[in-house]
Subunit: 268 residues, 2 copies
């Protein structure tokens, strides 16, 4: 356990689509992120641009049981938007703030190994589930003072690109790199944290234990989109990651200090 | 001069858009490229997809004096297509052939420093001219057995992405890395080489000296698209690059051995 004191700190930050959609907010966020010292990895989601582009091109978005299916055309669009436009826009903005960023998908340097999701119930299309994270490349880049910026696309090692959940990518990188770093995993979105009342930003839960989470969930107080995020977070917490925080883009520095947002913790 | 014997070999290959447009041909090419031993960097152009996407979205392509102007919408499209779709497709195909590729633009790791083109005559829009190549990052990646795959997009260090000529990117990387490697620069396209008769594939000029090139040009035997490519090649040849070859995608191995295509050479 004492080994942890020898490890350096690493912050892995995942930003949601709605931060990306608002250019001014994204710029402010990346400026603040650049002022944070230490090793960092940024993982970004998608935003509305892919949906809008599909609409403009007359490509129908297939939804089955509330889930989006990634068919061939949709994969093309998300690859263009996530790995192309959004990823490079973020990298250029970070460079402008003297943060030497390098944009990647899981295919690049094969930093994430994935496979096409197999499901007996439903064909999700070209959706990736993660097998393994290639720590070596991340270690090399970080040691060169480079900040990896990850778009939520992976490949299967056989030439097929795959649309992959950004929350999961952040979590898997966090778990894997916790072998080498004291990892803090931070989910950044538009709200101030996990709220007791979804309508009221002042009801942030500062510390959320697993037991308390289960209670809130059973009382129907945790809303739909938050449940997979939190389920994921608690799994990650049991896999070597030191700390998980969920907080607001506009309060990044405070979130990183644990003075804003919701810190996910194990039961005492 | 003896230092050159201590340098390792590096092949920098630029592939043209029309190879990229033909998926089967691209796959064959990348398979053959993967079988070539030694250090490699791949630079790719655009192809028709960006033009088609602009058309599908009703974005008018502005041409002034035969040159395409990169306005804001066009920049968005080329960033999506070049840095997103094409770059990641190539990377995934290379991974499938056990070549550990990493896709990048000039913005990534700030591997290429550029500025927006200034021209008193014509506003080209968001077009980049190259200032400097960051050798360190390329050296690090190459030493890790990673093959950089470069999309023709750069940034200006102030947050602005820029559309940048892929031939020029290949040439500038070749010039800069010739400080560390014996660099061979290879332009790969759909023809067998520089032809004496543009209509006849059997008229490849195996060796093209500067004097001979000037003669052919004055006789109108070198066609339009080839002139900037060759002018560029002769400039590069005087900047430390060992060898420049122009040849066909379908004969890559022979081209690299100098047994196919046109080798650009200094006058004796």
């Amino acid at each position: 356990m004492n080994q942890q004191h020898l490890k350096k700190d690493l912050v892995i930050i995942k930003i949601s689509g709605n931060i990306i959609d608002d250019e001014a907010r994204l710029e402010d966020f990346l400026k603040e992120l650049s002022s944070v010292k230490g090793h960092k990895i940024l993982v970004h989601g998608g935003g509305v641009m892919a949906t809008q582009l599909a609409k403009d091109l007359g490509i129908e978005q297939k939804m089955v049981e509330g889930r989006r299916i990634t068919d061939k055309d949709t994969l093309k669009i998300v690859t263009m938007v996530y790995a192309g436009y959004i990823n490079k826009k973020i990298v250029a903005m970070l460079q402008a703030n003297q943060t030497n960023a390098l944009g990647m998908t899981g295919a690049d340097g094969h930093c994430i190994k994935a496979h096409k999701r197999k499901s007996a119930k439903l064909d999700y299309g070209f959706v990736g589930d993660i097998d393994e994270v290639n720590n070596d490349l991340f270690l090399q880049l970080i040691s060169q003072g480079i900040m990896p910026v990850i778009a939520p696309i992976t490949d299967d090692g056989m030439g097929q690109l795959l649309n992959t959940n950004a929350d999961t990518i952040a979590a898997e990188i966090a778990k894997s790199l916790s072998q080498h770093f004291n990892v803090q995993l931070v989910y950044i979105f538009e709200k101030t944290g996990v709220l007791q009342n979804a309508e009221d930003e002042s009801t942030v839960i500062p510390n959320l234990s697993y037991t308390y989470y289960q209670q809130l969930k059973s009382r129907g107080l945790i809303f739909a989109g938050m449940i997979p995020k939190l389920d994921n977070a608690f799994t990650v917490l049991n896999s070597g990651v030191q700390k998980i925080i969920i907080g607001s883009a506009s309060q990044l520095s405070l979130v990183l200090k644990g003075e804003s947002g919701t810190t996910i913790s194990k039961d005492e």
